[in-house]
Amino acid sequence: MVALTDEEKAMRDGRDGDAVAAAMDLLIRYADALGAAHLCETRNVAGTNTQPSPAKTQLFEEGGWSKAFAVISLDCDDDIEVPRMKVPTCQLQHGFGDDALGIMPYSERNIELQADAESFYSSKGVNVLATCTPYQVGNLPTYGEHIAWMESSAVVYANSVLGARTNCEGGASTGSASITGRIPCWGNHLVENRYGTHLIESGLRMTGFQDWGMFGYFVGDAVQEARPVMVGDLGQPDLADLKHFGAAAASSGGVEMYHIPGRTPDAPTLEAAFGAAAPPEPLRYGEAERSAIYDSLNSIGNSEDVDFVLIGCPHASLEQIGRVARALEGRTLSAGTELWVMTPRALRAVSDRNGWTATIERAGGRVLTDSCPAMSRVAPTGTKVFATDSAKQAHYLPAILGIEAWFGTTEECVDAAVTGRWRGSLAPAAVVR
């Protein structure tokens, strides 16, 4: 049984009201299921409340957002009043916002419901960052900080790149954490569970964003939910590279934590990455493996006629939006092809100021904010074939939407949007030894 502090017992026993008591009840059941010895204090929660789903919509119609929050976010059947969030809590990405009205077959009712939910939850203190990448727009936990985040790509980034500590949380655990400031202290919260389990030796230097995505896809497939340690002359990754690497590894496997010695903060050295254990025999990533991953990510494409190009999964960084704008300068999209760049509203504001949004829109593309076609499960009407620079979307969208996928570089994707044809091919690998 999880050991509770006096403060936690008081919350459980109703001192702070019915909602907090229900939240503690859920956290205790969850901690006991995991076998957690105690709860962690947290001041950073990233969850999801505003995305409409059939079940949530029904609950909202029965009893408003309080009912929806009680049932979905606290696993509680009682009528309760939603209190103000106790600790800083942000909203992750959700369905389409009104900037996508009329351009795809997504219910206007959902967009209205979502706007209504945003008003409700922001009045309760939820920070509507509305992105799968809260770390790109101001939510940056510090090294060693216990946080409670959902969203697989955000979890792996927070654990690995920022050195914060979170498990892959869900709707009810983040909902309960947001009004109690507690989460089970289990798994990635404990130092002994953060050491590497697998060694991946790359014989290739990563030449950019696409390479990091393919490498992540390989690593996730190889280790599944374990904790890989990558070594080799990899080069210097940037934010977008590691965002893409982790998202890919969390899609092909379930990676929540990795180390790149000398690059990620839990592992200044190879020895530090494995703790007291000796590094295991390495798995090798070379030209053959890279080619196989590329072929796998492109195995669902047959037709070279591209209807839809998707950039930004996880949500595009400023640098990525700028690259798309540069590649589109003076060009016009093919009449039958849509190009969407997905990003948080806060980054769109910078993109607007930098003139990138105008360049992209002049060419016929769109910069859409806060949303995700995979979450909303819709693409532009009539899409049969899409192209993306995201290994994660190449993995998920064909399954979710039944469409064909091409995976390539950002520039190849922009070219496909301009020509309406896929002409991507794998550039030679940078072999280092």
């Binding site: 859920l26 059941r29 969850y30 006991d32 299921a33 995991l34 076998g35 999801t48 789903s53 059939p54 079940a55 029904q58 609950l59 049932v71 979905i72 696993d75 959902m150 969203e151 697989s152 979890v155 498990n167 892959c168 949380e169 869900g170 709707g171 009810a172 655990s173 089970p184 289990w186 798994g187 939910e225 899609s251 379930g254 995979a374 998920y396 399954a399 979710i400």
Partner: protein, 148 residues
């Protein structure tokens, strides 16, 4: 029904959501995705490459290695409860936050952390009793013919 003579196998584990039910097993040898993997409205597996693609788990004892994919896992299984399509019980091998939270909000008897692998030892169609109060899964009757 619960006579000793019929008992084929008893797996010992740890109950994480209490309760005791009896029903037919549906065994997945592959991990299951929530978001993108199941349709809560119909209680079916929708991941195209999954061995149980198109199969309904409603009212079955779902035996599986563990959860994979999005952190929406728990929310999708919670929706099966709200929409009346939930499995009867859950029996899984690998304990993770997704599967643990998912089982709790689905509110069906759940056992994990076994002394033996339930996925290897239980077959689809087996009549099983899930006794999560005592951390037991009892398998009845002869082993049915099955492709694996």
């Amino acid at each position: 029904m619960t006579s000793v003579a019929e008992t084929r196998l008893v797996l010992r584990g740890r109950g994480i959501v209490p309760g005791r039910v009896e029903g037919r097993a549906l065994v997945s040898h592959e991990t299951i995705s929530g978001w993108g993997g199941i349709d809560p409205a119909t209680g079916t597996i929708i991941e195209r490459r999954h061995e149980l693609y198109g199969v309904c788990f409603t009212g079955k004892v779902l035996v599986f290695p563990g959860a994979k994919g999005s952190s929406g896992w728990s929310g999708f299984f919670q929706s099966t409860r709200l929409m009346g399509t939930a499995p009867l019980a859950m029996v899984f091998t690998n304990l993770t936050t997704k599967a643990a939270l998912g089982a709790i909000v689905t509110r069906v008897p759940t056992v994990t952390e076994f002394d033996d692998d339930p996925v290897a030892r239980i077959a689809t169609g087996d009549r099983v009793e899930v006794d999560a109060d005592n951390g037991l899964v009892v398998v009845y009757g002869p082993r049915p013919g099955h492709p694996r």
